[in-house]
Amino acid sequence: MAASLTQLLNTARDSLSAQTYGLGVTGQNLANVNTPGYVRREALLETRALGTQTTGSVVANGIRRVTDEFLERRQFESTGLNSAASEHDSRLESLEALFNDVSGTGLGNSLDNLYNSFTQLSANPADPTTRRNVLAAADAFAERSRDTATVIAQSRTDLLKDAQSTTTQINESARAIARLNSQILAAEAQGGDAADLKDQRKQVMLGLASLVDVRTIASGSGIVVQASGTTLVDGVEARQLSIDLDSDGKMRVFAARNDEATPTEVTKFLTGGKLAGIKEARDVDLFETAKKLDEFVFDVATSINQQHQLGFGTDGVDGRDLFDVNTVDAARTVRVSVDVFNRPEAIAASGSATTLPGGSDNAVALSRLSTAPVVFGNSRTAAQSYGDLVGDVGQRKSAAEKMLESREAIAAQLDAMNEAMSGVSLDEEFVNLTKFQRAYEASARVLTTADQLLQELIQRV
């Protein structure tokens, strides 16, 4: 009998301790309702058998982090894709601004003004003001071209720097994950549950997922993290990513492997994260637009040069170029030719040396180049191909925006699903609080009752 009563005391004592544990877990959840990356805990209460007795008590057997590995993995993936799309879209904004001629000072406008200056020259070939106007218009076009190309080139340089600093962050995160992996292993070996460390690791993983695409595999020595198709973290070991440029100036991503001296190239496996967005913007959109711009400027300038060479300045000299332009980096290097710079009399308006200064046939021919198909293998006029350029840039940006919208929606959905699984609900915790509180009160009551009974017994004895 006494043994049963003492057992009752033990039962009550164990219950008080377990309910208090439950209250503690509830309290922790409530405290962390706004902590980013916090995964709610559930107290695990189990019945404890006391030897072979029929009655036992309760024991708190630790906590469970309420999380779903599969959902987490999908969240990493969608975060990576969203981040890539967001980076890509924002980088294209400045590219789009370069080709926005609404204000009237863009590259297209300056080319129109150049052809118009030829038209005006045909009306008054001898007038020095009209000739100086041609030189000014040519200079403005060359300058706009150089400015546009320089902005693109500068953006690519900045993007490379961004990629390098992103890679540094990736490597740091990898090291942090490896450290956390070893800490978690140590804590679990000692019998703890390492829940807080796992929360921390998840946060670092989410951060890493926004920088580069990640995939996780659970293994015996902590998780294995793969980024860009190669193993970045293998248990407690972290590896490095690095960036360099190939002969075209495009970025390449390398992963260092421990046993080999030379890193392996993994560029084509890069599919997500900020790094992928940077690569897409820099090496696809900006690269191709720069090439199209170069071809455009080269074709336009060369066609004007060829016509200009046929004509005579008022000094009776022919064979002059209006522009100096190279085959490589045409848009960035084009200038008004030294043959005509600051020399209005060198503008070749006349088609023959005997019809000076009123001869206007070469000026007419120059003016007519505006409607001649001289660009892109003699297939498009200058205005058409400039329109093509504008439309192409608009298309890239519009596609990037749509991609961002859809990926944002998916990422939001997965964030919500993860939050639904792992987030703290104040209502739920309120119920839990009440639940543990009532159980504690009940056990305290059991304790009081057992105590009274024992006292009764002792008094009798």
């Binding site: 706004n34 080709f99 030829f118 023959s352 200064p357 504008v390 192409d392 703290v424």
Partner: protein
């Protein structure tokens, strides 16, 4: 599915942000009147707008050029008209001078008047327009005739680009109007008339009359030719004005927003925003178990 508090807050924030963004875009469309403010708004329309801008700019300059060339052509035509009148007077002098009943003194007076007409005609032939001497051909910085009546220009036509498939020739031809290239040399003929009158040569004066007839025909031919050019330039200018209107209309059609649609969209989005704010407030005040 469990709904946690932070999900509610996130939802509220996300929806408000989205509606505010759409609201701002609608306000921009309504206030600028433009559907396409940057290339990504409508890439195909942006390409078209770029081409339209180029065409508009070209048409505008070509219109200016047509007007300048037309005013030069008009000036040339009126100058030739004046020349024709003067030549008429010279014919009268020749006719009088071939009259038997005149004395040597009378003829001498006629000779002086003839010389004065020659000087005036020389001035007319050396008229200047917007781009230089009107009748010098392409040598526009040189006077068409020197004081001796020798032609110093050429007979090369100037053309301008006013659109269309071929450039338009716009210059008057002093060579054809006043020199032997068009038939007879006007100043040589006037000289010989003046000399004949001064030398009391009745037969010489009579012979000069025929020559002056031909001179007048020459000038008249050139005058109608340049008059036709002026007309052609005028109609080119009109066509370009019409083209300008058409292109502007097309530009509006491609890039402008329908004002009524824009305004009603802005209004309805504004109402959506108000509703969203009200609902959000309710959600945030929210019913939960902690309020008792």
């Amino acid at each position: 599915m469990r709904v946690t508090d932070s999900m509610r807050y996130l939802d509220v924030r996300r929806n408000l942000t989205r509606i505010q963004r759409e609201n701002a875009k609608a306000a921009e469309t309504a206030s600028t009147g433009l559907r396409v403010t940057k290339p990504s708004d409508d890439p195909i329309a942006s390409a078209e707008l770029a081409r339209l801008r180029a065409s508009l700019s070209t048409a505008s300059t070509q219109r200016q050029v047509a007007q300048t060339a037309q005013s030069d052509a008009d000036l040339a035509e009126s100058t030739l008209a004046q020349a024709t009148e003067l030549l008429g007077r010279a014919r009268e002098l020749a006719m009088q001078g071939s009259n038997d009943s005149l004395s040597a003194d009378d003829r001498s007076a006629l000779a002086n008047e003839t010389r004065s007409i020659r000087t005036q005609l020389l001035g007319l032939a050396n008229a200047r327009g917007a781009k230089g001497y009107l009748f010098s051909g392409s040598l526009t910085s040189t006077a068409a005739f020197d004081s001796n009546g020798l032609f110093q220009g050429d007979d090369v036509a100037q053309s301008v680009d006013v659109g269309g498939s071929t450039p338009t020739e716009v210059s008057a031809s002093g060579a054809m109007a006043f020199t032997a290239a068009g038939g007879r040399d006007l100043f040589a003929d006037l000289d010989s008339l003046a000399n004949a009158l001064g030398a009391d040569n009745r037969a010489g004066a009579a012979a000069a009359l025929d020559n002056l007839d031909q001179n007048q025909r020459q000038i008249t031919n050139e005058r109608s030719r340049i008059g036709l050019i002026a007309n052609k330039l005028e109609s080119s200018g009109n066509l370009l004005s019409q083209l300008d209107l058409d292109l502007n209309k097309r530009q509006t059609g491609v890039g402008a927003a329908d004002p009524f649609e824009a305004y009603s969209k802005m209004t309805s989005l504004g109402q959506s925003l108000e509703r969203a704010i009200t609902v959000s407030r309710q959600m945030l005040d929210g019913n939960n178990a902690w309020q008792r």
